[in-house]
Structure formats: C-alpha cells, structure tokens
C-alpha cells in the first residue's frame, strides 16, 4: 500500500467517526465541533483528489462561515444537552435499520459501477492540469457563467430572507423591552 492509500484510510476513519459522533452527541456544541472536524477531513480528501482550490474553499465556507453561524444559533438557544431519542415508538431501531440498508445499497451500487463501468482515464499529467485553479476558473467563467451569475442572486435572496426572518417585529421588541425594564423594580 502506498502512502496515499494509507492516508486515505486514516482520513476515511476520522471522517466516519466524526460524522457518527456528530449525529449521536448529546451536546449541540460538541456536535458542531465534530461537524467541523468532518468538514476539515473532507477538505483534506479534496487535496488528495487533486483539488486544492476546492479544499481551501471548503475550509473557508464550511469550517469558517457555516460553523460560526451554527455556533451562534446553538449559543442563542442555550447549549444544554438534549435527549437523544424521543417520541415516536420504534423510531430508533427502524431508523438504524434503514440507515444501514441505505449504506449497503449505496456501497453495492458503487461496486456494481466498478465491476461493469468504464475505467477512468487518469494520468499524472491530467491530474496536475485538473488541480489548477486557472483551469477551474476557465470552466466556471466560460461554460457555467450564467449559473455562476444566478448564484449571486441566490445569495442575495438568502441574505434578505435571513434578515427578514430574524428581525423582531417592532411591537414584539417593545413588549420585551418593557418587560425587561419592569423586572428590576
């Protein structure tokens, strides 16, 4: 086994363990931390796949911006541990069974593809060409220019939507201020 394969397996184990820990951790703050670990490992896998620019973007967007947002909301709602399993009877075993079934099915699908599909055409030279941010930019700003422009509209909509949703109504705000002013007396 080459160093790359060893590296891949180490990363894969960390990714799966951190994902499981994220899903099954009681404390939401721990869950966010495990999510960041998982996203960072995926960024390392991008490096291994010859996409260093995407790895940098992954760290910036996920481990940076999205993690901060999640932490903010967790802190806002109080980070007290929540119960793991609730409400629907039989939900826990059923969900685990279906999750495992899905994993098995997807893995089987991948292996069918490997057995019957066309092998990839990878050479070192192609990999080096693919890893270049300039090559990526050429595709992004040439073939995908219109979708790229549309994403800016999407981001604007998201921003406005978040502001509108998070904004308190004026009377609600006045009511909460009035109640907090009354409290010390």
């Amino acid at each position: 086994m080459s160093a790359q394969v060893v590296f891949f397996f180490v990363l894969a184990v960390v990714a799966v363990v951190s994902a499981l820990a994220m899903v099954f951790s009681r404390n939401a703050v721990y869950a966010v931390m495990f999510m960041v670990a998982n996203f960072s490992v995926v960024a390392l896998l991008y490096v291994l796949l010859g996409a260093p620019f995407l790895a940098a973007v992954q760290i910036l967007v996920y481990a940076g911006a999205i993690m901060v947002l999640f932490l903010f909301v967790v802190m806002l709602m109080g980070g007290e541990p929540a119960p793991l399993w609730e409400h629907i009877p039989g939900q826990r075993p059923l969900a685990l069974v279906f999750g495992l079934l899905l994993a098995g099915g997807l893995i089987a699908a991948v292996n069918v593809e490997r057995l019957t599909g066309v092998p990839g055409v990878m050479t070192q030279e192609v990999l080096e060409r693919l890893g270049q941010p300039t090559a990526l930019a050429q595709v992004l700003f040439d073939r995908y220019l219109l979708p790229f422009e549309i994403t800016s509209v999407l981001l604007l909509i998201g921003m406005i939507g978040a502001v509108v949703l998070a904004k308190r109504e004026k009377r609600e705000l006045a009511a909460s201020q009035a109640s907090s002013e009354r409290r010390p007396e």
């Binding site: 996920y62 893995i107 308190r168």
Partner: protein, 101 residues
C-alpha cells in the same frame, strides 16, 4: 498506487447514510440541519471523486454551486430555526407542526 475512485464513492455513501440516519433519528432541529449539511458534503465528495475519475472539471464546478446553495440554505434555515425557537420555545422538529406563526 493511487486510491481507487470507488473508495471515495463508498466513503461518500457511508457519510451520506450517516446523515440520513441523523435526520431520521434526531429531533433537535439544529442536529437535523447539520445532518443535512453532512449529506451535502458527502455528495460534494463524490462529485470531486467523479470529476477526477472522468477527467472533467464539471464536477468541481458543481461543488461550487452546491456550496453556494448550502451557504444560502444555512443562513435561511438557521433564521427559521431561531424564529421557531422564539415563538415555540423549543427547537424540536416535532413541536413545530403548524404553519401559523
């Protein structure tokens, strides 16, 4: 030896399944949301892996778009969770069963 692409796809499949299990099992809206992010990430991983296997950059460009959608989704989704938490006092997905504000 270069890592076979199928390894990456299997890893992505496992991560996606863990995300689905999280959505099914957890009732805390934030954890459910993080599980959705996990699924998006797993799909991104398979995009990049296939982009290398097929010698095409289209997959990597799609990862960009998925990241953009994820960022917008997180902003709006977390704002929704905060709004629901304000009006209901809990972030349990089972408690939010009416659309009326």
């Amino acid at each position: 030896m270069i890592v076979p692409v199928s390894y990456y796809l299997i890893l992505a499949a496992i991560l996606f399944s863990i995300g689905v299990t999280g959505v099914l099992v957890r009732r805390n809206a934030i954890i459910v949301f993080m599980s959705i992010e996990l699924m998006l990430n797993a799909v991104n991983l398979s995009f990049v892996a296939m982009s290398r296997a097929l010698d095409s950059l289209d997959g990597q460009v799609f990862v960009f778009f998925v990241m953009t959608v994820a960022a917008a989704e997180v902003a709006v989704g977390l704002a929704l969770i905060v709004a629901i938490f304000r009006s209901l006092g809990s972030a349990d997905v089972d408690d939010a069963h009416v659309l009326r504000g």
